[in-house]
């Protein structure tokens, strides 16, 4: 009976529980694993009905299943793994997989059930399910918050693009206005200016003081308006980045003398511009037009903000490695609290009173000098005067080699 021994040993040592029942459900035998799974000793279950090992709701079901099986001989139920519930001795209900087989033994039938405990698997499955559910929830929440974020981003983007569009439109409008102001205003201004010249000429023989006075006022106002237009145009060009300096070597002394000749006509009574140059060279490599604008601007300010019968010192200095331009007046000066804002666009010092100006001149000067890689500084004391100092680093290899 070696085979029977082996078979017995296999059954006794199987990890799955093995239970044999008769046609009526009476337990005929149970292996140790089966006992362990259900928590009974063999003698406690052998001879008992299988329903002892089934939880209540399943009892009917399984019996019915067995009855069905007996009655209808449903072959397909045999051998198929069913997931059912078992009842342990301590009342714990647990899941297991049941594999059922029928053994025909001479005159009667025996059913053998293989019981594979699914507690651990079920717990793991549950955990996975829980975890999955949790994950799904998290994903859902994340998705929701993502959608909200994306929506907010979209809205923000739209807002920004609307603002950008508005800004672009405003910029275009501004450019168009400045273009109109600087070009179209000049046409009527020209006829005003020429008419003023004609009135002056026609009235000259009669020497009528009020006419002379008012013609001068008209001409002066046209001049002011033109300066404003020029400032707007310069600023617009700077803003658009269209002001690109073209560096070229030129004679600074010659330019300075030319500027003084032009400016001397604009000075107040007994106001004198004194020019002095230091250094053996007079050549610089800068943008002549931009530098001219800067110097004219600073001298115009010196004239505007100082009184009659004063001197304006205009100095240029060229040394081996630098070029320095200073413009000094004895005017109203710049209040200390205003000094840090002086180069800001549209800023005007508080003591400028009724002296006309846009507050753009020094901003343009600073930006032009910056474009030429120079620096501009000033020192000022209220009611004593102001000195502006422009400085450029210069390399004079070219000019020295030319002269040498």
């Amino acid at each position: 009976m070696k085979n029977a021994d082996l078979l017995y040993s296999i059954i006794e040592n199987a990890i799955d529980g093995i239970i044999a029942i008769d046609e009526w459900g009476k337990i005929e035998s149970i292996n140790p694993s089966g006992c362990e799974i259900f928590g009974y000793l063999p003698q406690e279950v052998i001879g008992q009905n299988i329903t002892k090992l089934m939880p209540l709701p399943n009892k009917g079901g399984n019996e019915e299943f067995l009855n069905n099986y007996k009655r209808a001989d449903i072959a397909k139920l045999i051998g198929i793994g069913r997931e059912v519930e078992g009842l342990q001795k301590d009342g714990t209900v647990f899941p297991f997989r049941l594999g059922l087989s029928e053994i025909k033994n001479s005159d009667r039938k025996i059913y053998t059930g293989f019981i594979h405990d699914l507690t651990k698997e079920k717990a793991a499955e549950l955990k996975v399910k829980e975890y999955t559910g949790d994950l799904e929830l998290q994903v859902k929440e994340r998705t929701k918050s993502l959608i909200t974020t994306v929506k907010a981003l979209k809205e923000a983007k739209e807002e920004v693009s609307t603002m950008l569009k508005k800004e672009t439109e405003l910029g275009l409008l501004k450019s168009r206005f400045i273009s109109i102001a600087s070009h179209e205003f000049r046409t009527p201004l020209t006829s005003i200016q020429l008419s003023a010249s004609l009135i002056e000429q026609h009235a000259a023989p009669f020497e009528i003081v009020p006419i002379v006075k008012h013609v001068a006022k008209i001409q002066n106002s046209v001049g002011n308006l033109t300066n404003i237009l020029n400032d707007f145009l310069s600023l617009e060009k700077l803003e658009l980045g269209k002001e690109v300096p073209t560096f070229g070597e030129f004679n600074l002394v010659k330019l300075s003398e030319q500027i003084i000749e032009e400016m001397q006509m604009m000075t107040k009574p007994l106001q004198h511009i004194i020019y002095q140059h230091t250094g053996s060279s007079s050549l610089v490599k800068l943008d002549q037009n931009l530098l001219k604008c800067c110097i004219i601007n600073l001298i115009t300010n010196a004239i505007k903000y100082s009184g009659e019968n004063t001197f304006i010192d205009f100095n240029t200095e060229i040394q081996a490695d630098f070029c320095r331009i200073t413009i000094k007046d004895n005017g109203i000066g710049i209040p200390e609290s205003d000094q840090k804002h002086l180069f800001e666009a549209f800023f005007r010092a508080h003591n400028t009173g009724t002296i006309p100006g846009t507050g753009l001149g020094l901003n343009i000067v600073a930006r032009y000098i910056d474009l030429m890689q120079g620096s501009v500084n000033f020192e000022s004391h209220v009611n004593q005067g102001t000195i502006f100092i422009i400085r450029f680093q210069q390399q004079h290899e070219e000019s020295t080699s030319h002269r040498g």
Partner: protein
């Protein structure tokens, strides 16, 4: 007397320039468009031409280019009257072969001194 041709589409400016120059004794021809200006220049060969830049159809640059093609007119001093105050435009105007330019608004003295300095060359 010296003949001056004024090409300017704005009637106020044109009339003012004419009056100022006639008071100084110049003989004036004038045109309100570039095309008429070119015709008058060829017809009368003035001693000096004042010409606006921004004009419909034929602008100031076009007038200058056309006059440079004719030997009767290509040596006549040519002064641009420009509403463009940017350096680049001025440089551009000079490079095209203009002898001077007056940036609007200019006054009577600037106008006369520019004309005189060209005629005295």
């Amino acid at each position: 007397m010296k003949k001056v041709l004024v090409i300017e589409d704005n009637i106020d400016i044109r009339e003012n320039i004419i009056e100022i120059l006639e008071l100084e004794g110049y003989t004036l021809f004038n045109a309100d468009s570039g095309i008429k200006g070119v015709d008058l220049a060829l017809e009368h060969q003035p001693d000096i031409i004042l010409c606006d830049i921004m004009m419909p159809e034929l602008d100031g640059y076009g007038v200058l280019q056309m006059l440079q093609k004719h030997k009767e007119t290509n040596t006549i001093p040519f002064i641009f009257l420009t509403a463009k105050a940017e350096h680049l435009d001025q440089r551009e105007a000079m490079e095209l072969g203009a002898d001077d330019y007056l940036v609007k608004p200019f006054d009577g003295l600037e106008l006369l001194s520019s004309i005189e300095s060209q005629l005295n060359k």
